[in-house]
């Protein structure tokens, strides 16, 4: 019989297959192998993107030319646009507003074929620092209420360009998924006067069965209520609401655990597509984020979401997180 598990933060139920769990070799997934070809994010093609917003580059090199390590540009086809006012209004029972926001692309590396496992830890640190810098900068615009950093790796994860890149979206309202986490965490905090994520970390460290990796500042584990097989969460041990408030030491430790975790995932599943998302507290709203704790969610693309999931918000996880963690723990970095 399967097991029903309830997410303590958002209240989502997941059916975990325990009797006939799927092992790594049981999954058929779309293999992702970058094809190369003309790429606007590669060295020498800087003219193909909108002008750079920020960049780490070699001294003496000019903007929008080679010589960079991490490069941030506006998304050429932005979901939202930076100019204008929100202008919220009603149309009968419906509500709408103008599509005001920011949509940036962080080109993580000049190398077309290097995913995070292939980068040096120092290169990942630079990339993470740039994410923090852009995040902190967009926060200054009081129209924005939420800043969302995410990465689509591989075609099955929805990446339309092969060259490794991360996207940053500043939204004029706190999105529904973030609100659910925030409300869940707040309810718990109001009841217990403790952060639910801190409690989760404590329980995971004690329990050990779902932990993949741990260093001084971070823990990576398969969440007890995983929606997807081999789902992974990376959490800072130190309570903090904002990703961009990380200390220098934490950036170094995150680069390390991110690289090692994704390397393990790659060892278990070659050429796998995945998404990761950085969940951070809303900005320009309530100052008090005592109850929220930022974290990274990694979602490997091994299964499809179908009518059942769309209809219910229930998920079917064919591999228990305990089994997934076993495989990931055993994989050599």
């Amino acid at each position: 019989m399967g097991e029903l598990r309830r997410d303590p933060v958002v209240g989502r139920w997941v059916i975990v297959e325990t009797d006939r769990p799927k092992k790594p070799e049981d999954f058929e997934y779309e293999q992702y192998i970058p094809q190369g070809g003309l790429c606007p994010f590669c060295y020498g093609n800087e003219f193909m993107t909108p002008p750079e917003i920020n960049c780490f580059r070699d001294p003496g090199t000019g903007a929008n030319t080679p010589g960079w390590q991490v490069r941030v540009v506006a998304n050429k086809f932005p979901a939202l646009q930076i100019e204008g006012n929100l202008d919220r209004r009603g149309i009968g029972i419906y509500d709408m507003s103008n599509g005001v926001g920011a949509h940036e692309v962080l080109i993580e590396t000049p190398y077309h074929n290097k995913d995070i496992p292939e980068l040096l830890t120092q290169e990942i640190e630079e990339y993470l620092k740039m994410c923090c810098i852009r995040s902190a900068d967009l926060k200054k615009d009081s129209r924005f209420k939420y800043i969302m950093i995410f990465r689509n790796y591989g075609s099955a994860a929805g990446a339309s360009l092969e060259h490794p890149h991360t996207q940053l979206v500043a939204l004029p309202m706190v999105p529904k998924n973030a609100l659910e986490e925030i409300h869940g965490a707040r309810d718990y905090y109001n009841y217990r006067e403790r952060c639910i994520f801190c409690d989760m970390i404590r329980q995971e460290i004690q329990d050990k069965t779902r932990v993949i990796l741990e260093n001084k500042y971070f823990i990576s584990f398969c969440p007890f209520v995983s929606r997807f097989p081999f789902e992974i969460m990376i959490m800072p041990k130190q309570h903090s609401g904002y990703f961009c408030h990380m200390s220098e030491d934490e950036v170094v430790a995150l680069a390390q655990i991110l690289k090692d975790t994704l390397t393990k995932l790659k060892k278990v599943f070659e050429n796998l597509s995945y998404n990761y998302i950085i969940h951070s507290a809303p900005v320009n709203g309530e100052a008090d984020v005592e109850y929220y704790h930022w974290h990274v969610e990694i979602m490997p693309k091994l299964t499809q979401v179908a009518g059942f999931e769309w209809g219910t918000g229930f998920y079917l996880d064919p591999t228990s997180p305990e089994l997934a963690a076993q495989y990931l723990k055993a994989a050599k970095e």
Copy 2:
């Protein structure tokens, strides 16, 4: 500039592309063409499925033999199992319970290659009647709190078997997505003493721009806040919480509008995969469902869900529902 629209029921925001909207010819989607081959749901292979739970069949034919029109069997690989107790319990901060529930498969037709547009209206009526019968029967089990009927058509929609079939899942708790709709509808009802779905129907009929089809009992339209391009909603005009409480006349009218709507979708996009989901009120709980109104959601598989949607619950709709409705309205049935 895109437009932000807010779902009046669940509060979800969607970015609708209005400046450079995608037209049908702009979509690249996975074409779905059934391959045939040995099929457990075809005539003569009844022994390959678990024994039938219910069936419309020719007089004189025996159970689990040919001669049927619609056939219901237990899912061979059920997500949940019918035996046992829920036994809710905690593990530290986490919650869990046994995987109790029902998971049935309704084989809609003996024909391997006939999707709903190819069936006769009378055949669709039989299929819908069977959905109602099974729904009403499962409702009697007081352990179940929600009954969910959904259909995955085509591989991109997650269908693992080609033969047209619908799934029915009885759940021991009201799932998150249903709760969100119910809470949103209740808040509106408490504030206005009106059903939000009834108001929506009234506004859609008056506005006309998103309506695809209408008959005496039903309306099909592209919702103002579509998450996906060419998303369609079918709603009964008569207020009712439960799908399975449909009158005979309503079953006939639903069969007609479902067939015609899906035929139009097929004219615009050949070999397209889609999911549909019947949203009905929870069972065995509060008796009062004054505020809820059952409906069908059709989700064509034209786009991929990526990091942005997973992270935020925001959706990007590249085709406005007004434009989608124009194309669907113009397509000949």
